[in-house]
Symmetry: C2
Subunit: 450 residues, 2 copies
């Protein structure tokens, strides 16, 4: 068969990049599990009516057809999931009787969208979601918890500074209502466009779509300009002179989230109360999050979420939830593409056990097995080439150590091929340094590509 | 929305089962990495012509169509991969210039088949593959290596006894040729049916399809009866009085695999040289593997593979390979369905930190964070209910310890809720027992379902 061509929008990683991605996913999982979030996976497909919202699917979904089935039978009625929230809501309803609520889960899986690919927008990509869902009512501290857990997880990522922006839709709705704007949803949709259009155009939208007058539109824009690294946003909001019960509740909730994030500082993650963040999606009802990555602002938000008062609903019971979703592929692949992120080696092996001659493979195998018995990843050279060639084999893969099994002339020796240091060693006691035991992430502003 | 119905063939796991599956996958990964196999993932889709073999796709593939695109544009020309070998072969060709050969990789991913679901046959399932692939030539010891690494991985699985059967298609081909049967491929296809039809019918097939006479057919069946736990198969084959160069090579290769597997015993895995195993697939050229699970024989083989002399070929270069693929879902889901496999708990948390009253959440959060700082998964109770109710919260999830933060009346205490033992504890020094730190797999012949 001929040489295959890449498929646009379906990124694939070389082993070194995959090693870095695995380390990132392991790190996310570690934080989520330390906080007691349980792993689930959902199937990749959902019935098309589940993927619909209000009868319509606005995402470009991939629909499945069975190749060998005929006519109507061929169409499976199934589409690939385009996020992890829709399938999670379905999972909660389907297994409600077997789950313990409040249910705290994380889910790290691929999702698919048939959209036109562009930088940071893929057709297949990995998301990492955490959510807390309850039956009937979910206390507000769940919002605080998902925010602080995700901030802790983001803080461990080997990526440029992440800027988390937090807001609260109750605050916005209360402010708009307090101003006298009835269609708060339309006002939020207008304010959400501040990223894409000038303030005057948003003011026009507020007047045309949300029924605001010029003064009200101006107040909405002044609210949207408030941005503080702490709870001082509250005084600035109150200084605008609007009052409403929902506004008070929103200010209180956003203050709690900011307080909690401030009291658990996270390296590499900044947090701002940003009153411009509205999230276009109507199903968010309180806290909302977005996150930008320094130098990659045009990717848009790489980590978003919020509170849903009705994550799922089966007609009898309502399941409120709060969650955040991190775009793993969206965050990492642009860094891989620029050579800013890689791994120290392309294989897990810390040690290459050399072959002295063709007949001595059992000896080398035994050395490798003794190293593995102590958790040291090891492989045996594929052929009894000259030692220089065997060392080159290790070098090309980034394997730091080459082991020379003992012969009649002397005992076992191990060489650090970076320094050239070679010394006697016993396969039952020798240990590599802790940082050499596993492949490690390498970040650089100007990584040299191999 | 109404209560969703399960989709046949798309198994989903509850948190406790998922915890067991994760532990299994972690165990596989650990063994593969200790042996220096690098992780890769391939995209879920391939162009339909890649999924074809000789111009035809014999598997029931799911084809993707974009929902909102029209007519010819809607058909993506892409199908979901139905195994991990076809995508791996394509990956090797596509990235050959950036990979180091011999390339040793593992791949644990979902695959999809549009076939009719039945026990152990799913439409979405997880496979775990290891392969070694080289450019131009691949030494035979790679066959030995994948066999021993997979046997080591299988040995760590929490499943009934696995019976690995090994054979060699060169041995079969040499035997048939030595007998005077020219169409060795037809003879192998006939012998491969011994599982499904009586020996006489296979003899008829050997005569009708492979051009054997009655005596030759009889010799083929006598070869197929040979089954030994060691290399003694070799003498029994030679006793049949057939000779051919390929037969000698096959006997030597199979003996090497059996020798290596015998010298590294694996609990819970038996290995047999079974000369009936042919694998129907023409692309295997040497070593072949199948594996049955005790009590689940009707699932067929749960772990299969072999040597391909041309795993991939771009017209200029040939890439020989050898690999084995374990059906993770096929092995685990029947055990979950029978309640024979589960986990000690449904959440990662080893400790539930109780809430003394509604105002003391910061105190409980601080205790939990101090435990997490020492790698102890901990969560805080969702509400300041009576302690009995908080203990029930832990019990239902299988969390072994409940922590009571200190008050004016006394210091911190921790209770093992299984034994009822409660004692003073310091969140900066207390450790649960090693077996309580993480959820653990529970196997039982007659597990009680919750």
């Amino acid at each position: 068969m001929s040489r295959p061509m890449p498929l646009s929008g379906f990124p694939e990683l070389l082993p070194r990049e995959r090693s870095a991605e695995q380390a990132v996913i392991d790190g996310l999982r570690r934080v989520f599990e330390l906080h007691g979030f349980a792993s689930i996976e959902t199937r990749a497909v959902e019935p098309l009516d589940r993927l619909a919202k209000g009868g319509e699917i606005d995402k470009e979904v991939y629909v499945l057809r069975r190749l060998h089935a005929d006519g109507a039978d061929a169409d499976s009625g199934l589409g690939m999931h385009f996020d992890l929230t829709v399938p999670f809501a379905r999972y909660v309803l389907e297994y409600a009787g077997k789950l313990e609520f409040p249910f705290r889960r994380y889910q790290i899986q691929k999702v698919w969208r048939g959209e036109r690919p562009q930088e940071g927008r893929f057709r297949e990509f990995t998301q990492a979601d955490i959510d807390i869902v309850a039956r009937d009512t979910l206390p507000f501290h769940a919002d605080v918890e998902v925010a602080t857990v995700m901030a802790e997880a983001l803080s461990a990522l080997p990526v440029p500074t992440l800027r988390m922006q937090v807001n609260n839709r109750r605050l916005l709705e209360g402010f708009y209502r307090g101003l006298g704007i009835d269609d708060a949803a339309a006002a939020m949709r207008a304010v959400d466009k501040l990223d894409k259009m000038p303030a005057e155009a948003v003011a026009d939208l507020l007047m045309s779509d949300a029924g605001a007058n010029a003064e009200q539109a101006d107040a909405c824009l002044r609210l949207a300009q408030i941005r503080t690294p702490d709870t001082s946003f509250a005084d600035r909001v109150r200084a605008l002179g609007v009052s409403h019960e929902l506004l008070d509740q929103g200010i209180d909730e956003l203050s709690q989230v900011m307080d909690a994030l401030e009291s658990t500082p996270h390296d590499g993650v900044t947090v701002t109360a940003d009153l411009r963040i509205a999230r276009g999606l109507d199903y968010y009802t309180g806290t909302v999050f977005e996150t930008r990555m320094d130098g990659f602002e045009r990717l848009g938000s790489v980590c978003s979420g919020g509170r849903y008062d009705a994550l799922a609903d089966d007609g009898k019971t309502t399941y409120p939830g709060v969650g955040i979703s991190l775009g793993v592929t969206r965050t990492l692949v642009p860094l891989f593409q620029r050579g800013q992120l890689t791994s120290t080696r392309s294989v897990p092996s810390a040690v290459l056990v050399a072959l002295v001659d063709d007949g001595s493979r059992p000896t080398s195998d035994a050395v490798a097995q003794r190293l593995r018995a102590r958790d040291i990843p090891a492989e045996v050279a594929p052929a009894a080439q000259k030692f220089g060639k065997q060392i080159r084999y290790a070098e090309r893969r980034g394997i730091p150590y080459v082991w020379f099994p003992g012969t009649d002339d002397g005992g076992d020796q191990v060489k650090d091929i970076r320094s050239g240091d070679q010394k006697d060693a016993d396969p039952d006691t020798w240990m590599p340094s802790a940082e050499d035991l596993r492949p490690a992430i390498v970040t650089t502003e100007t990584a040299t590509e191999e």
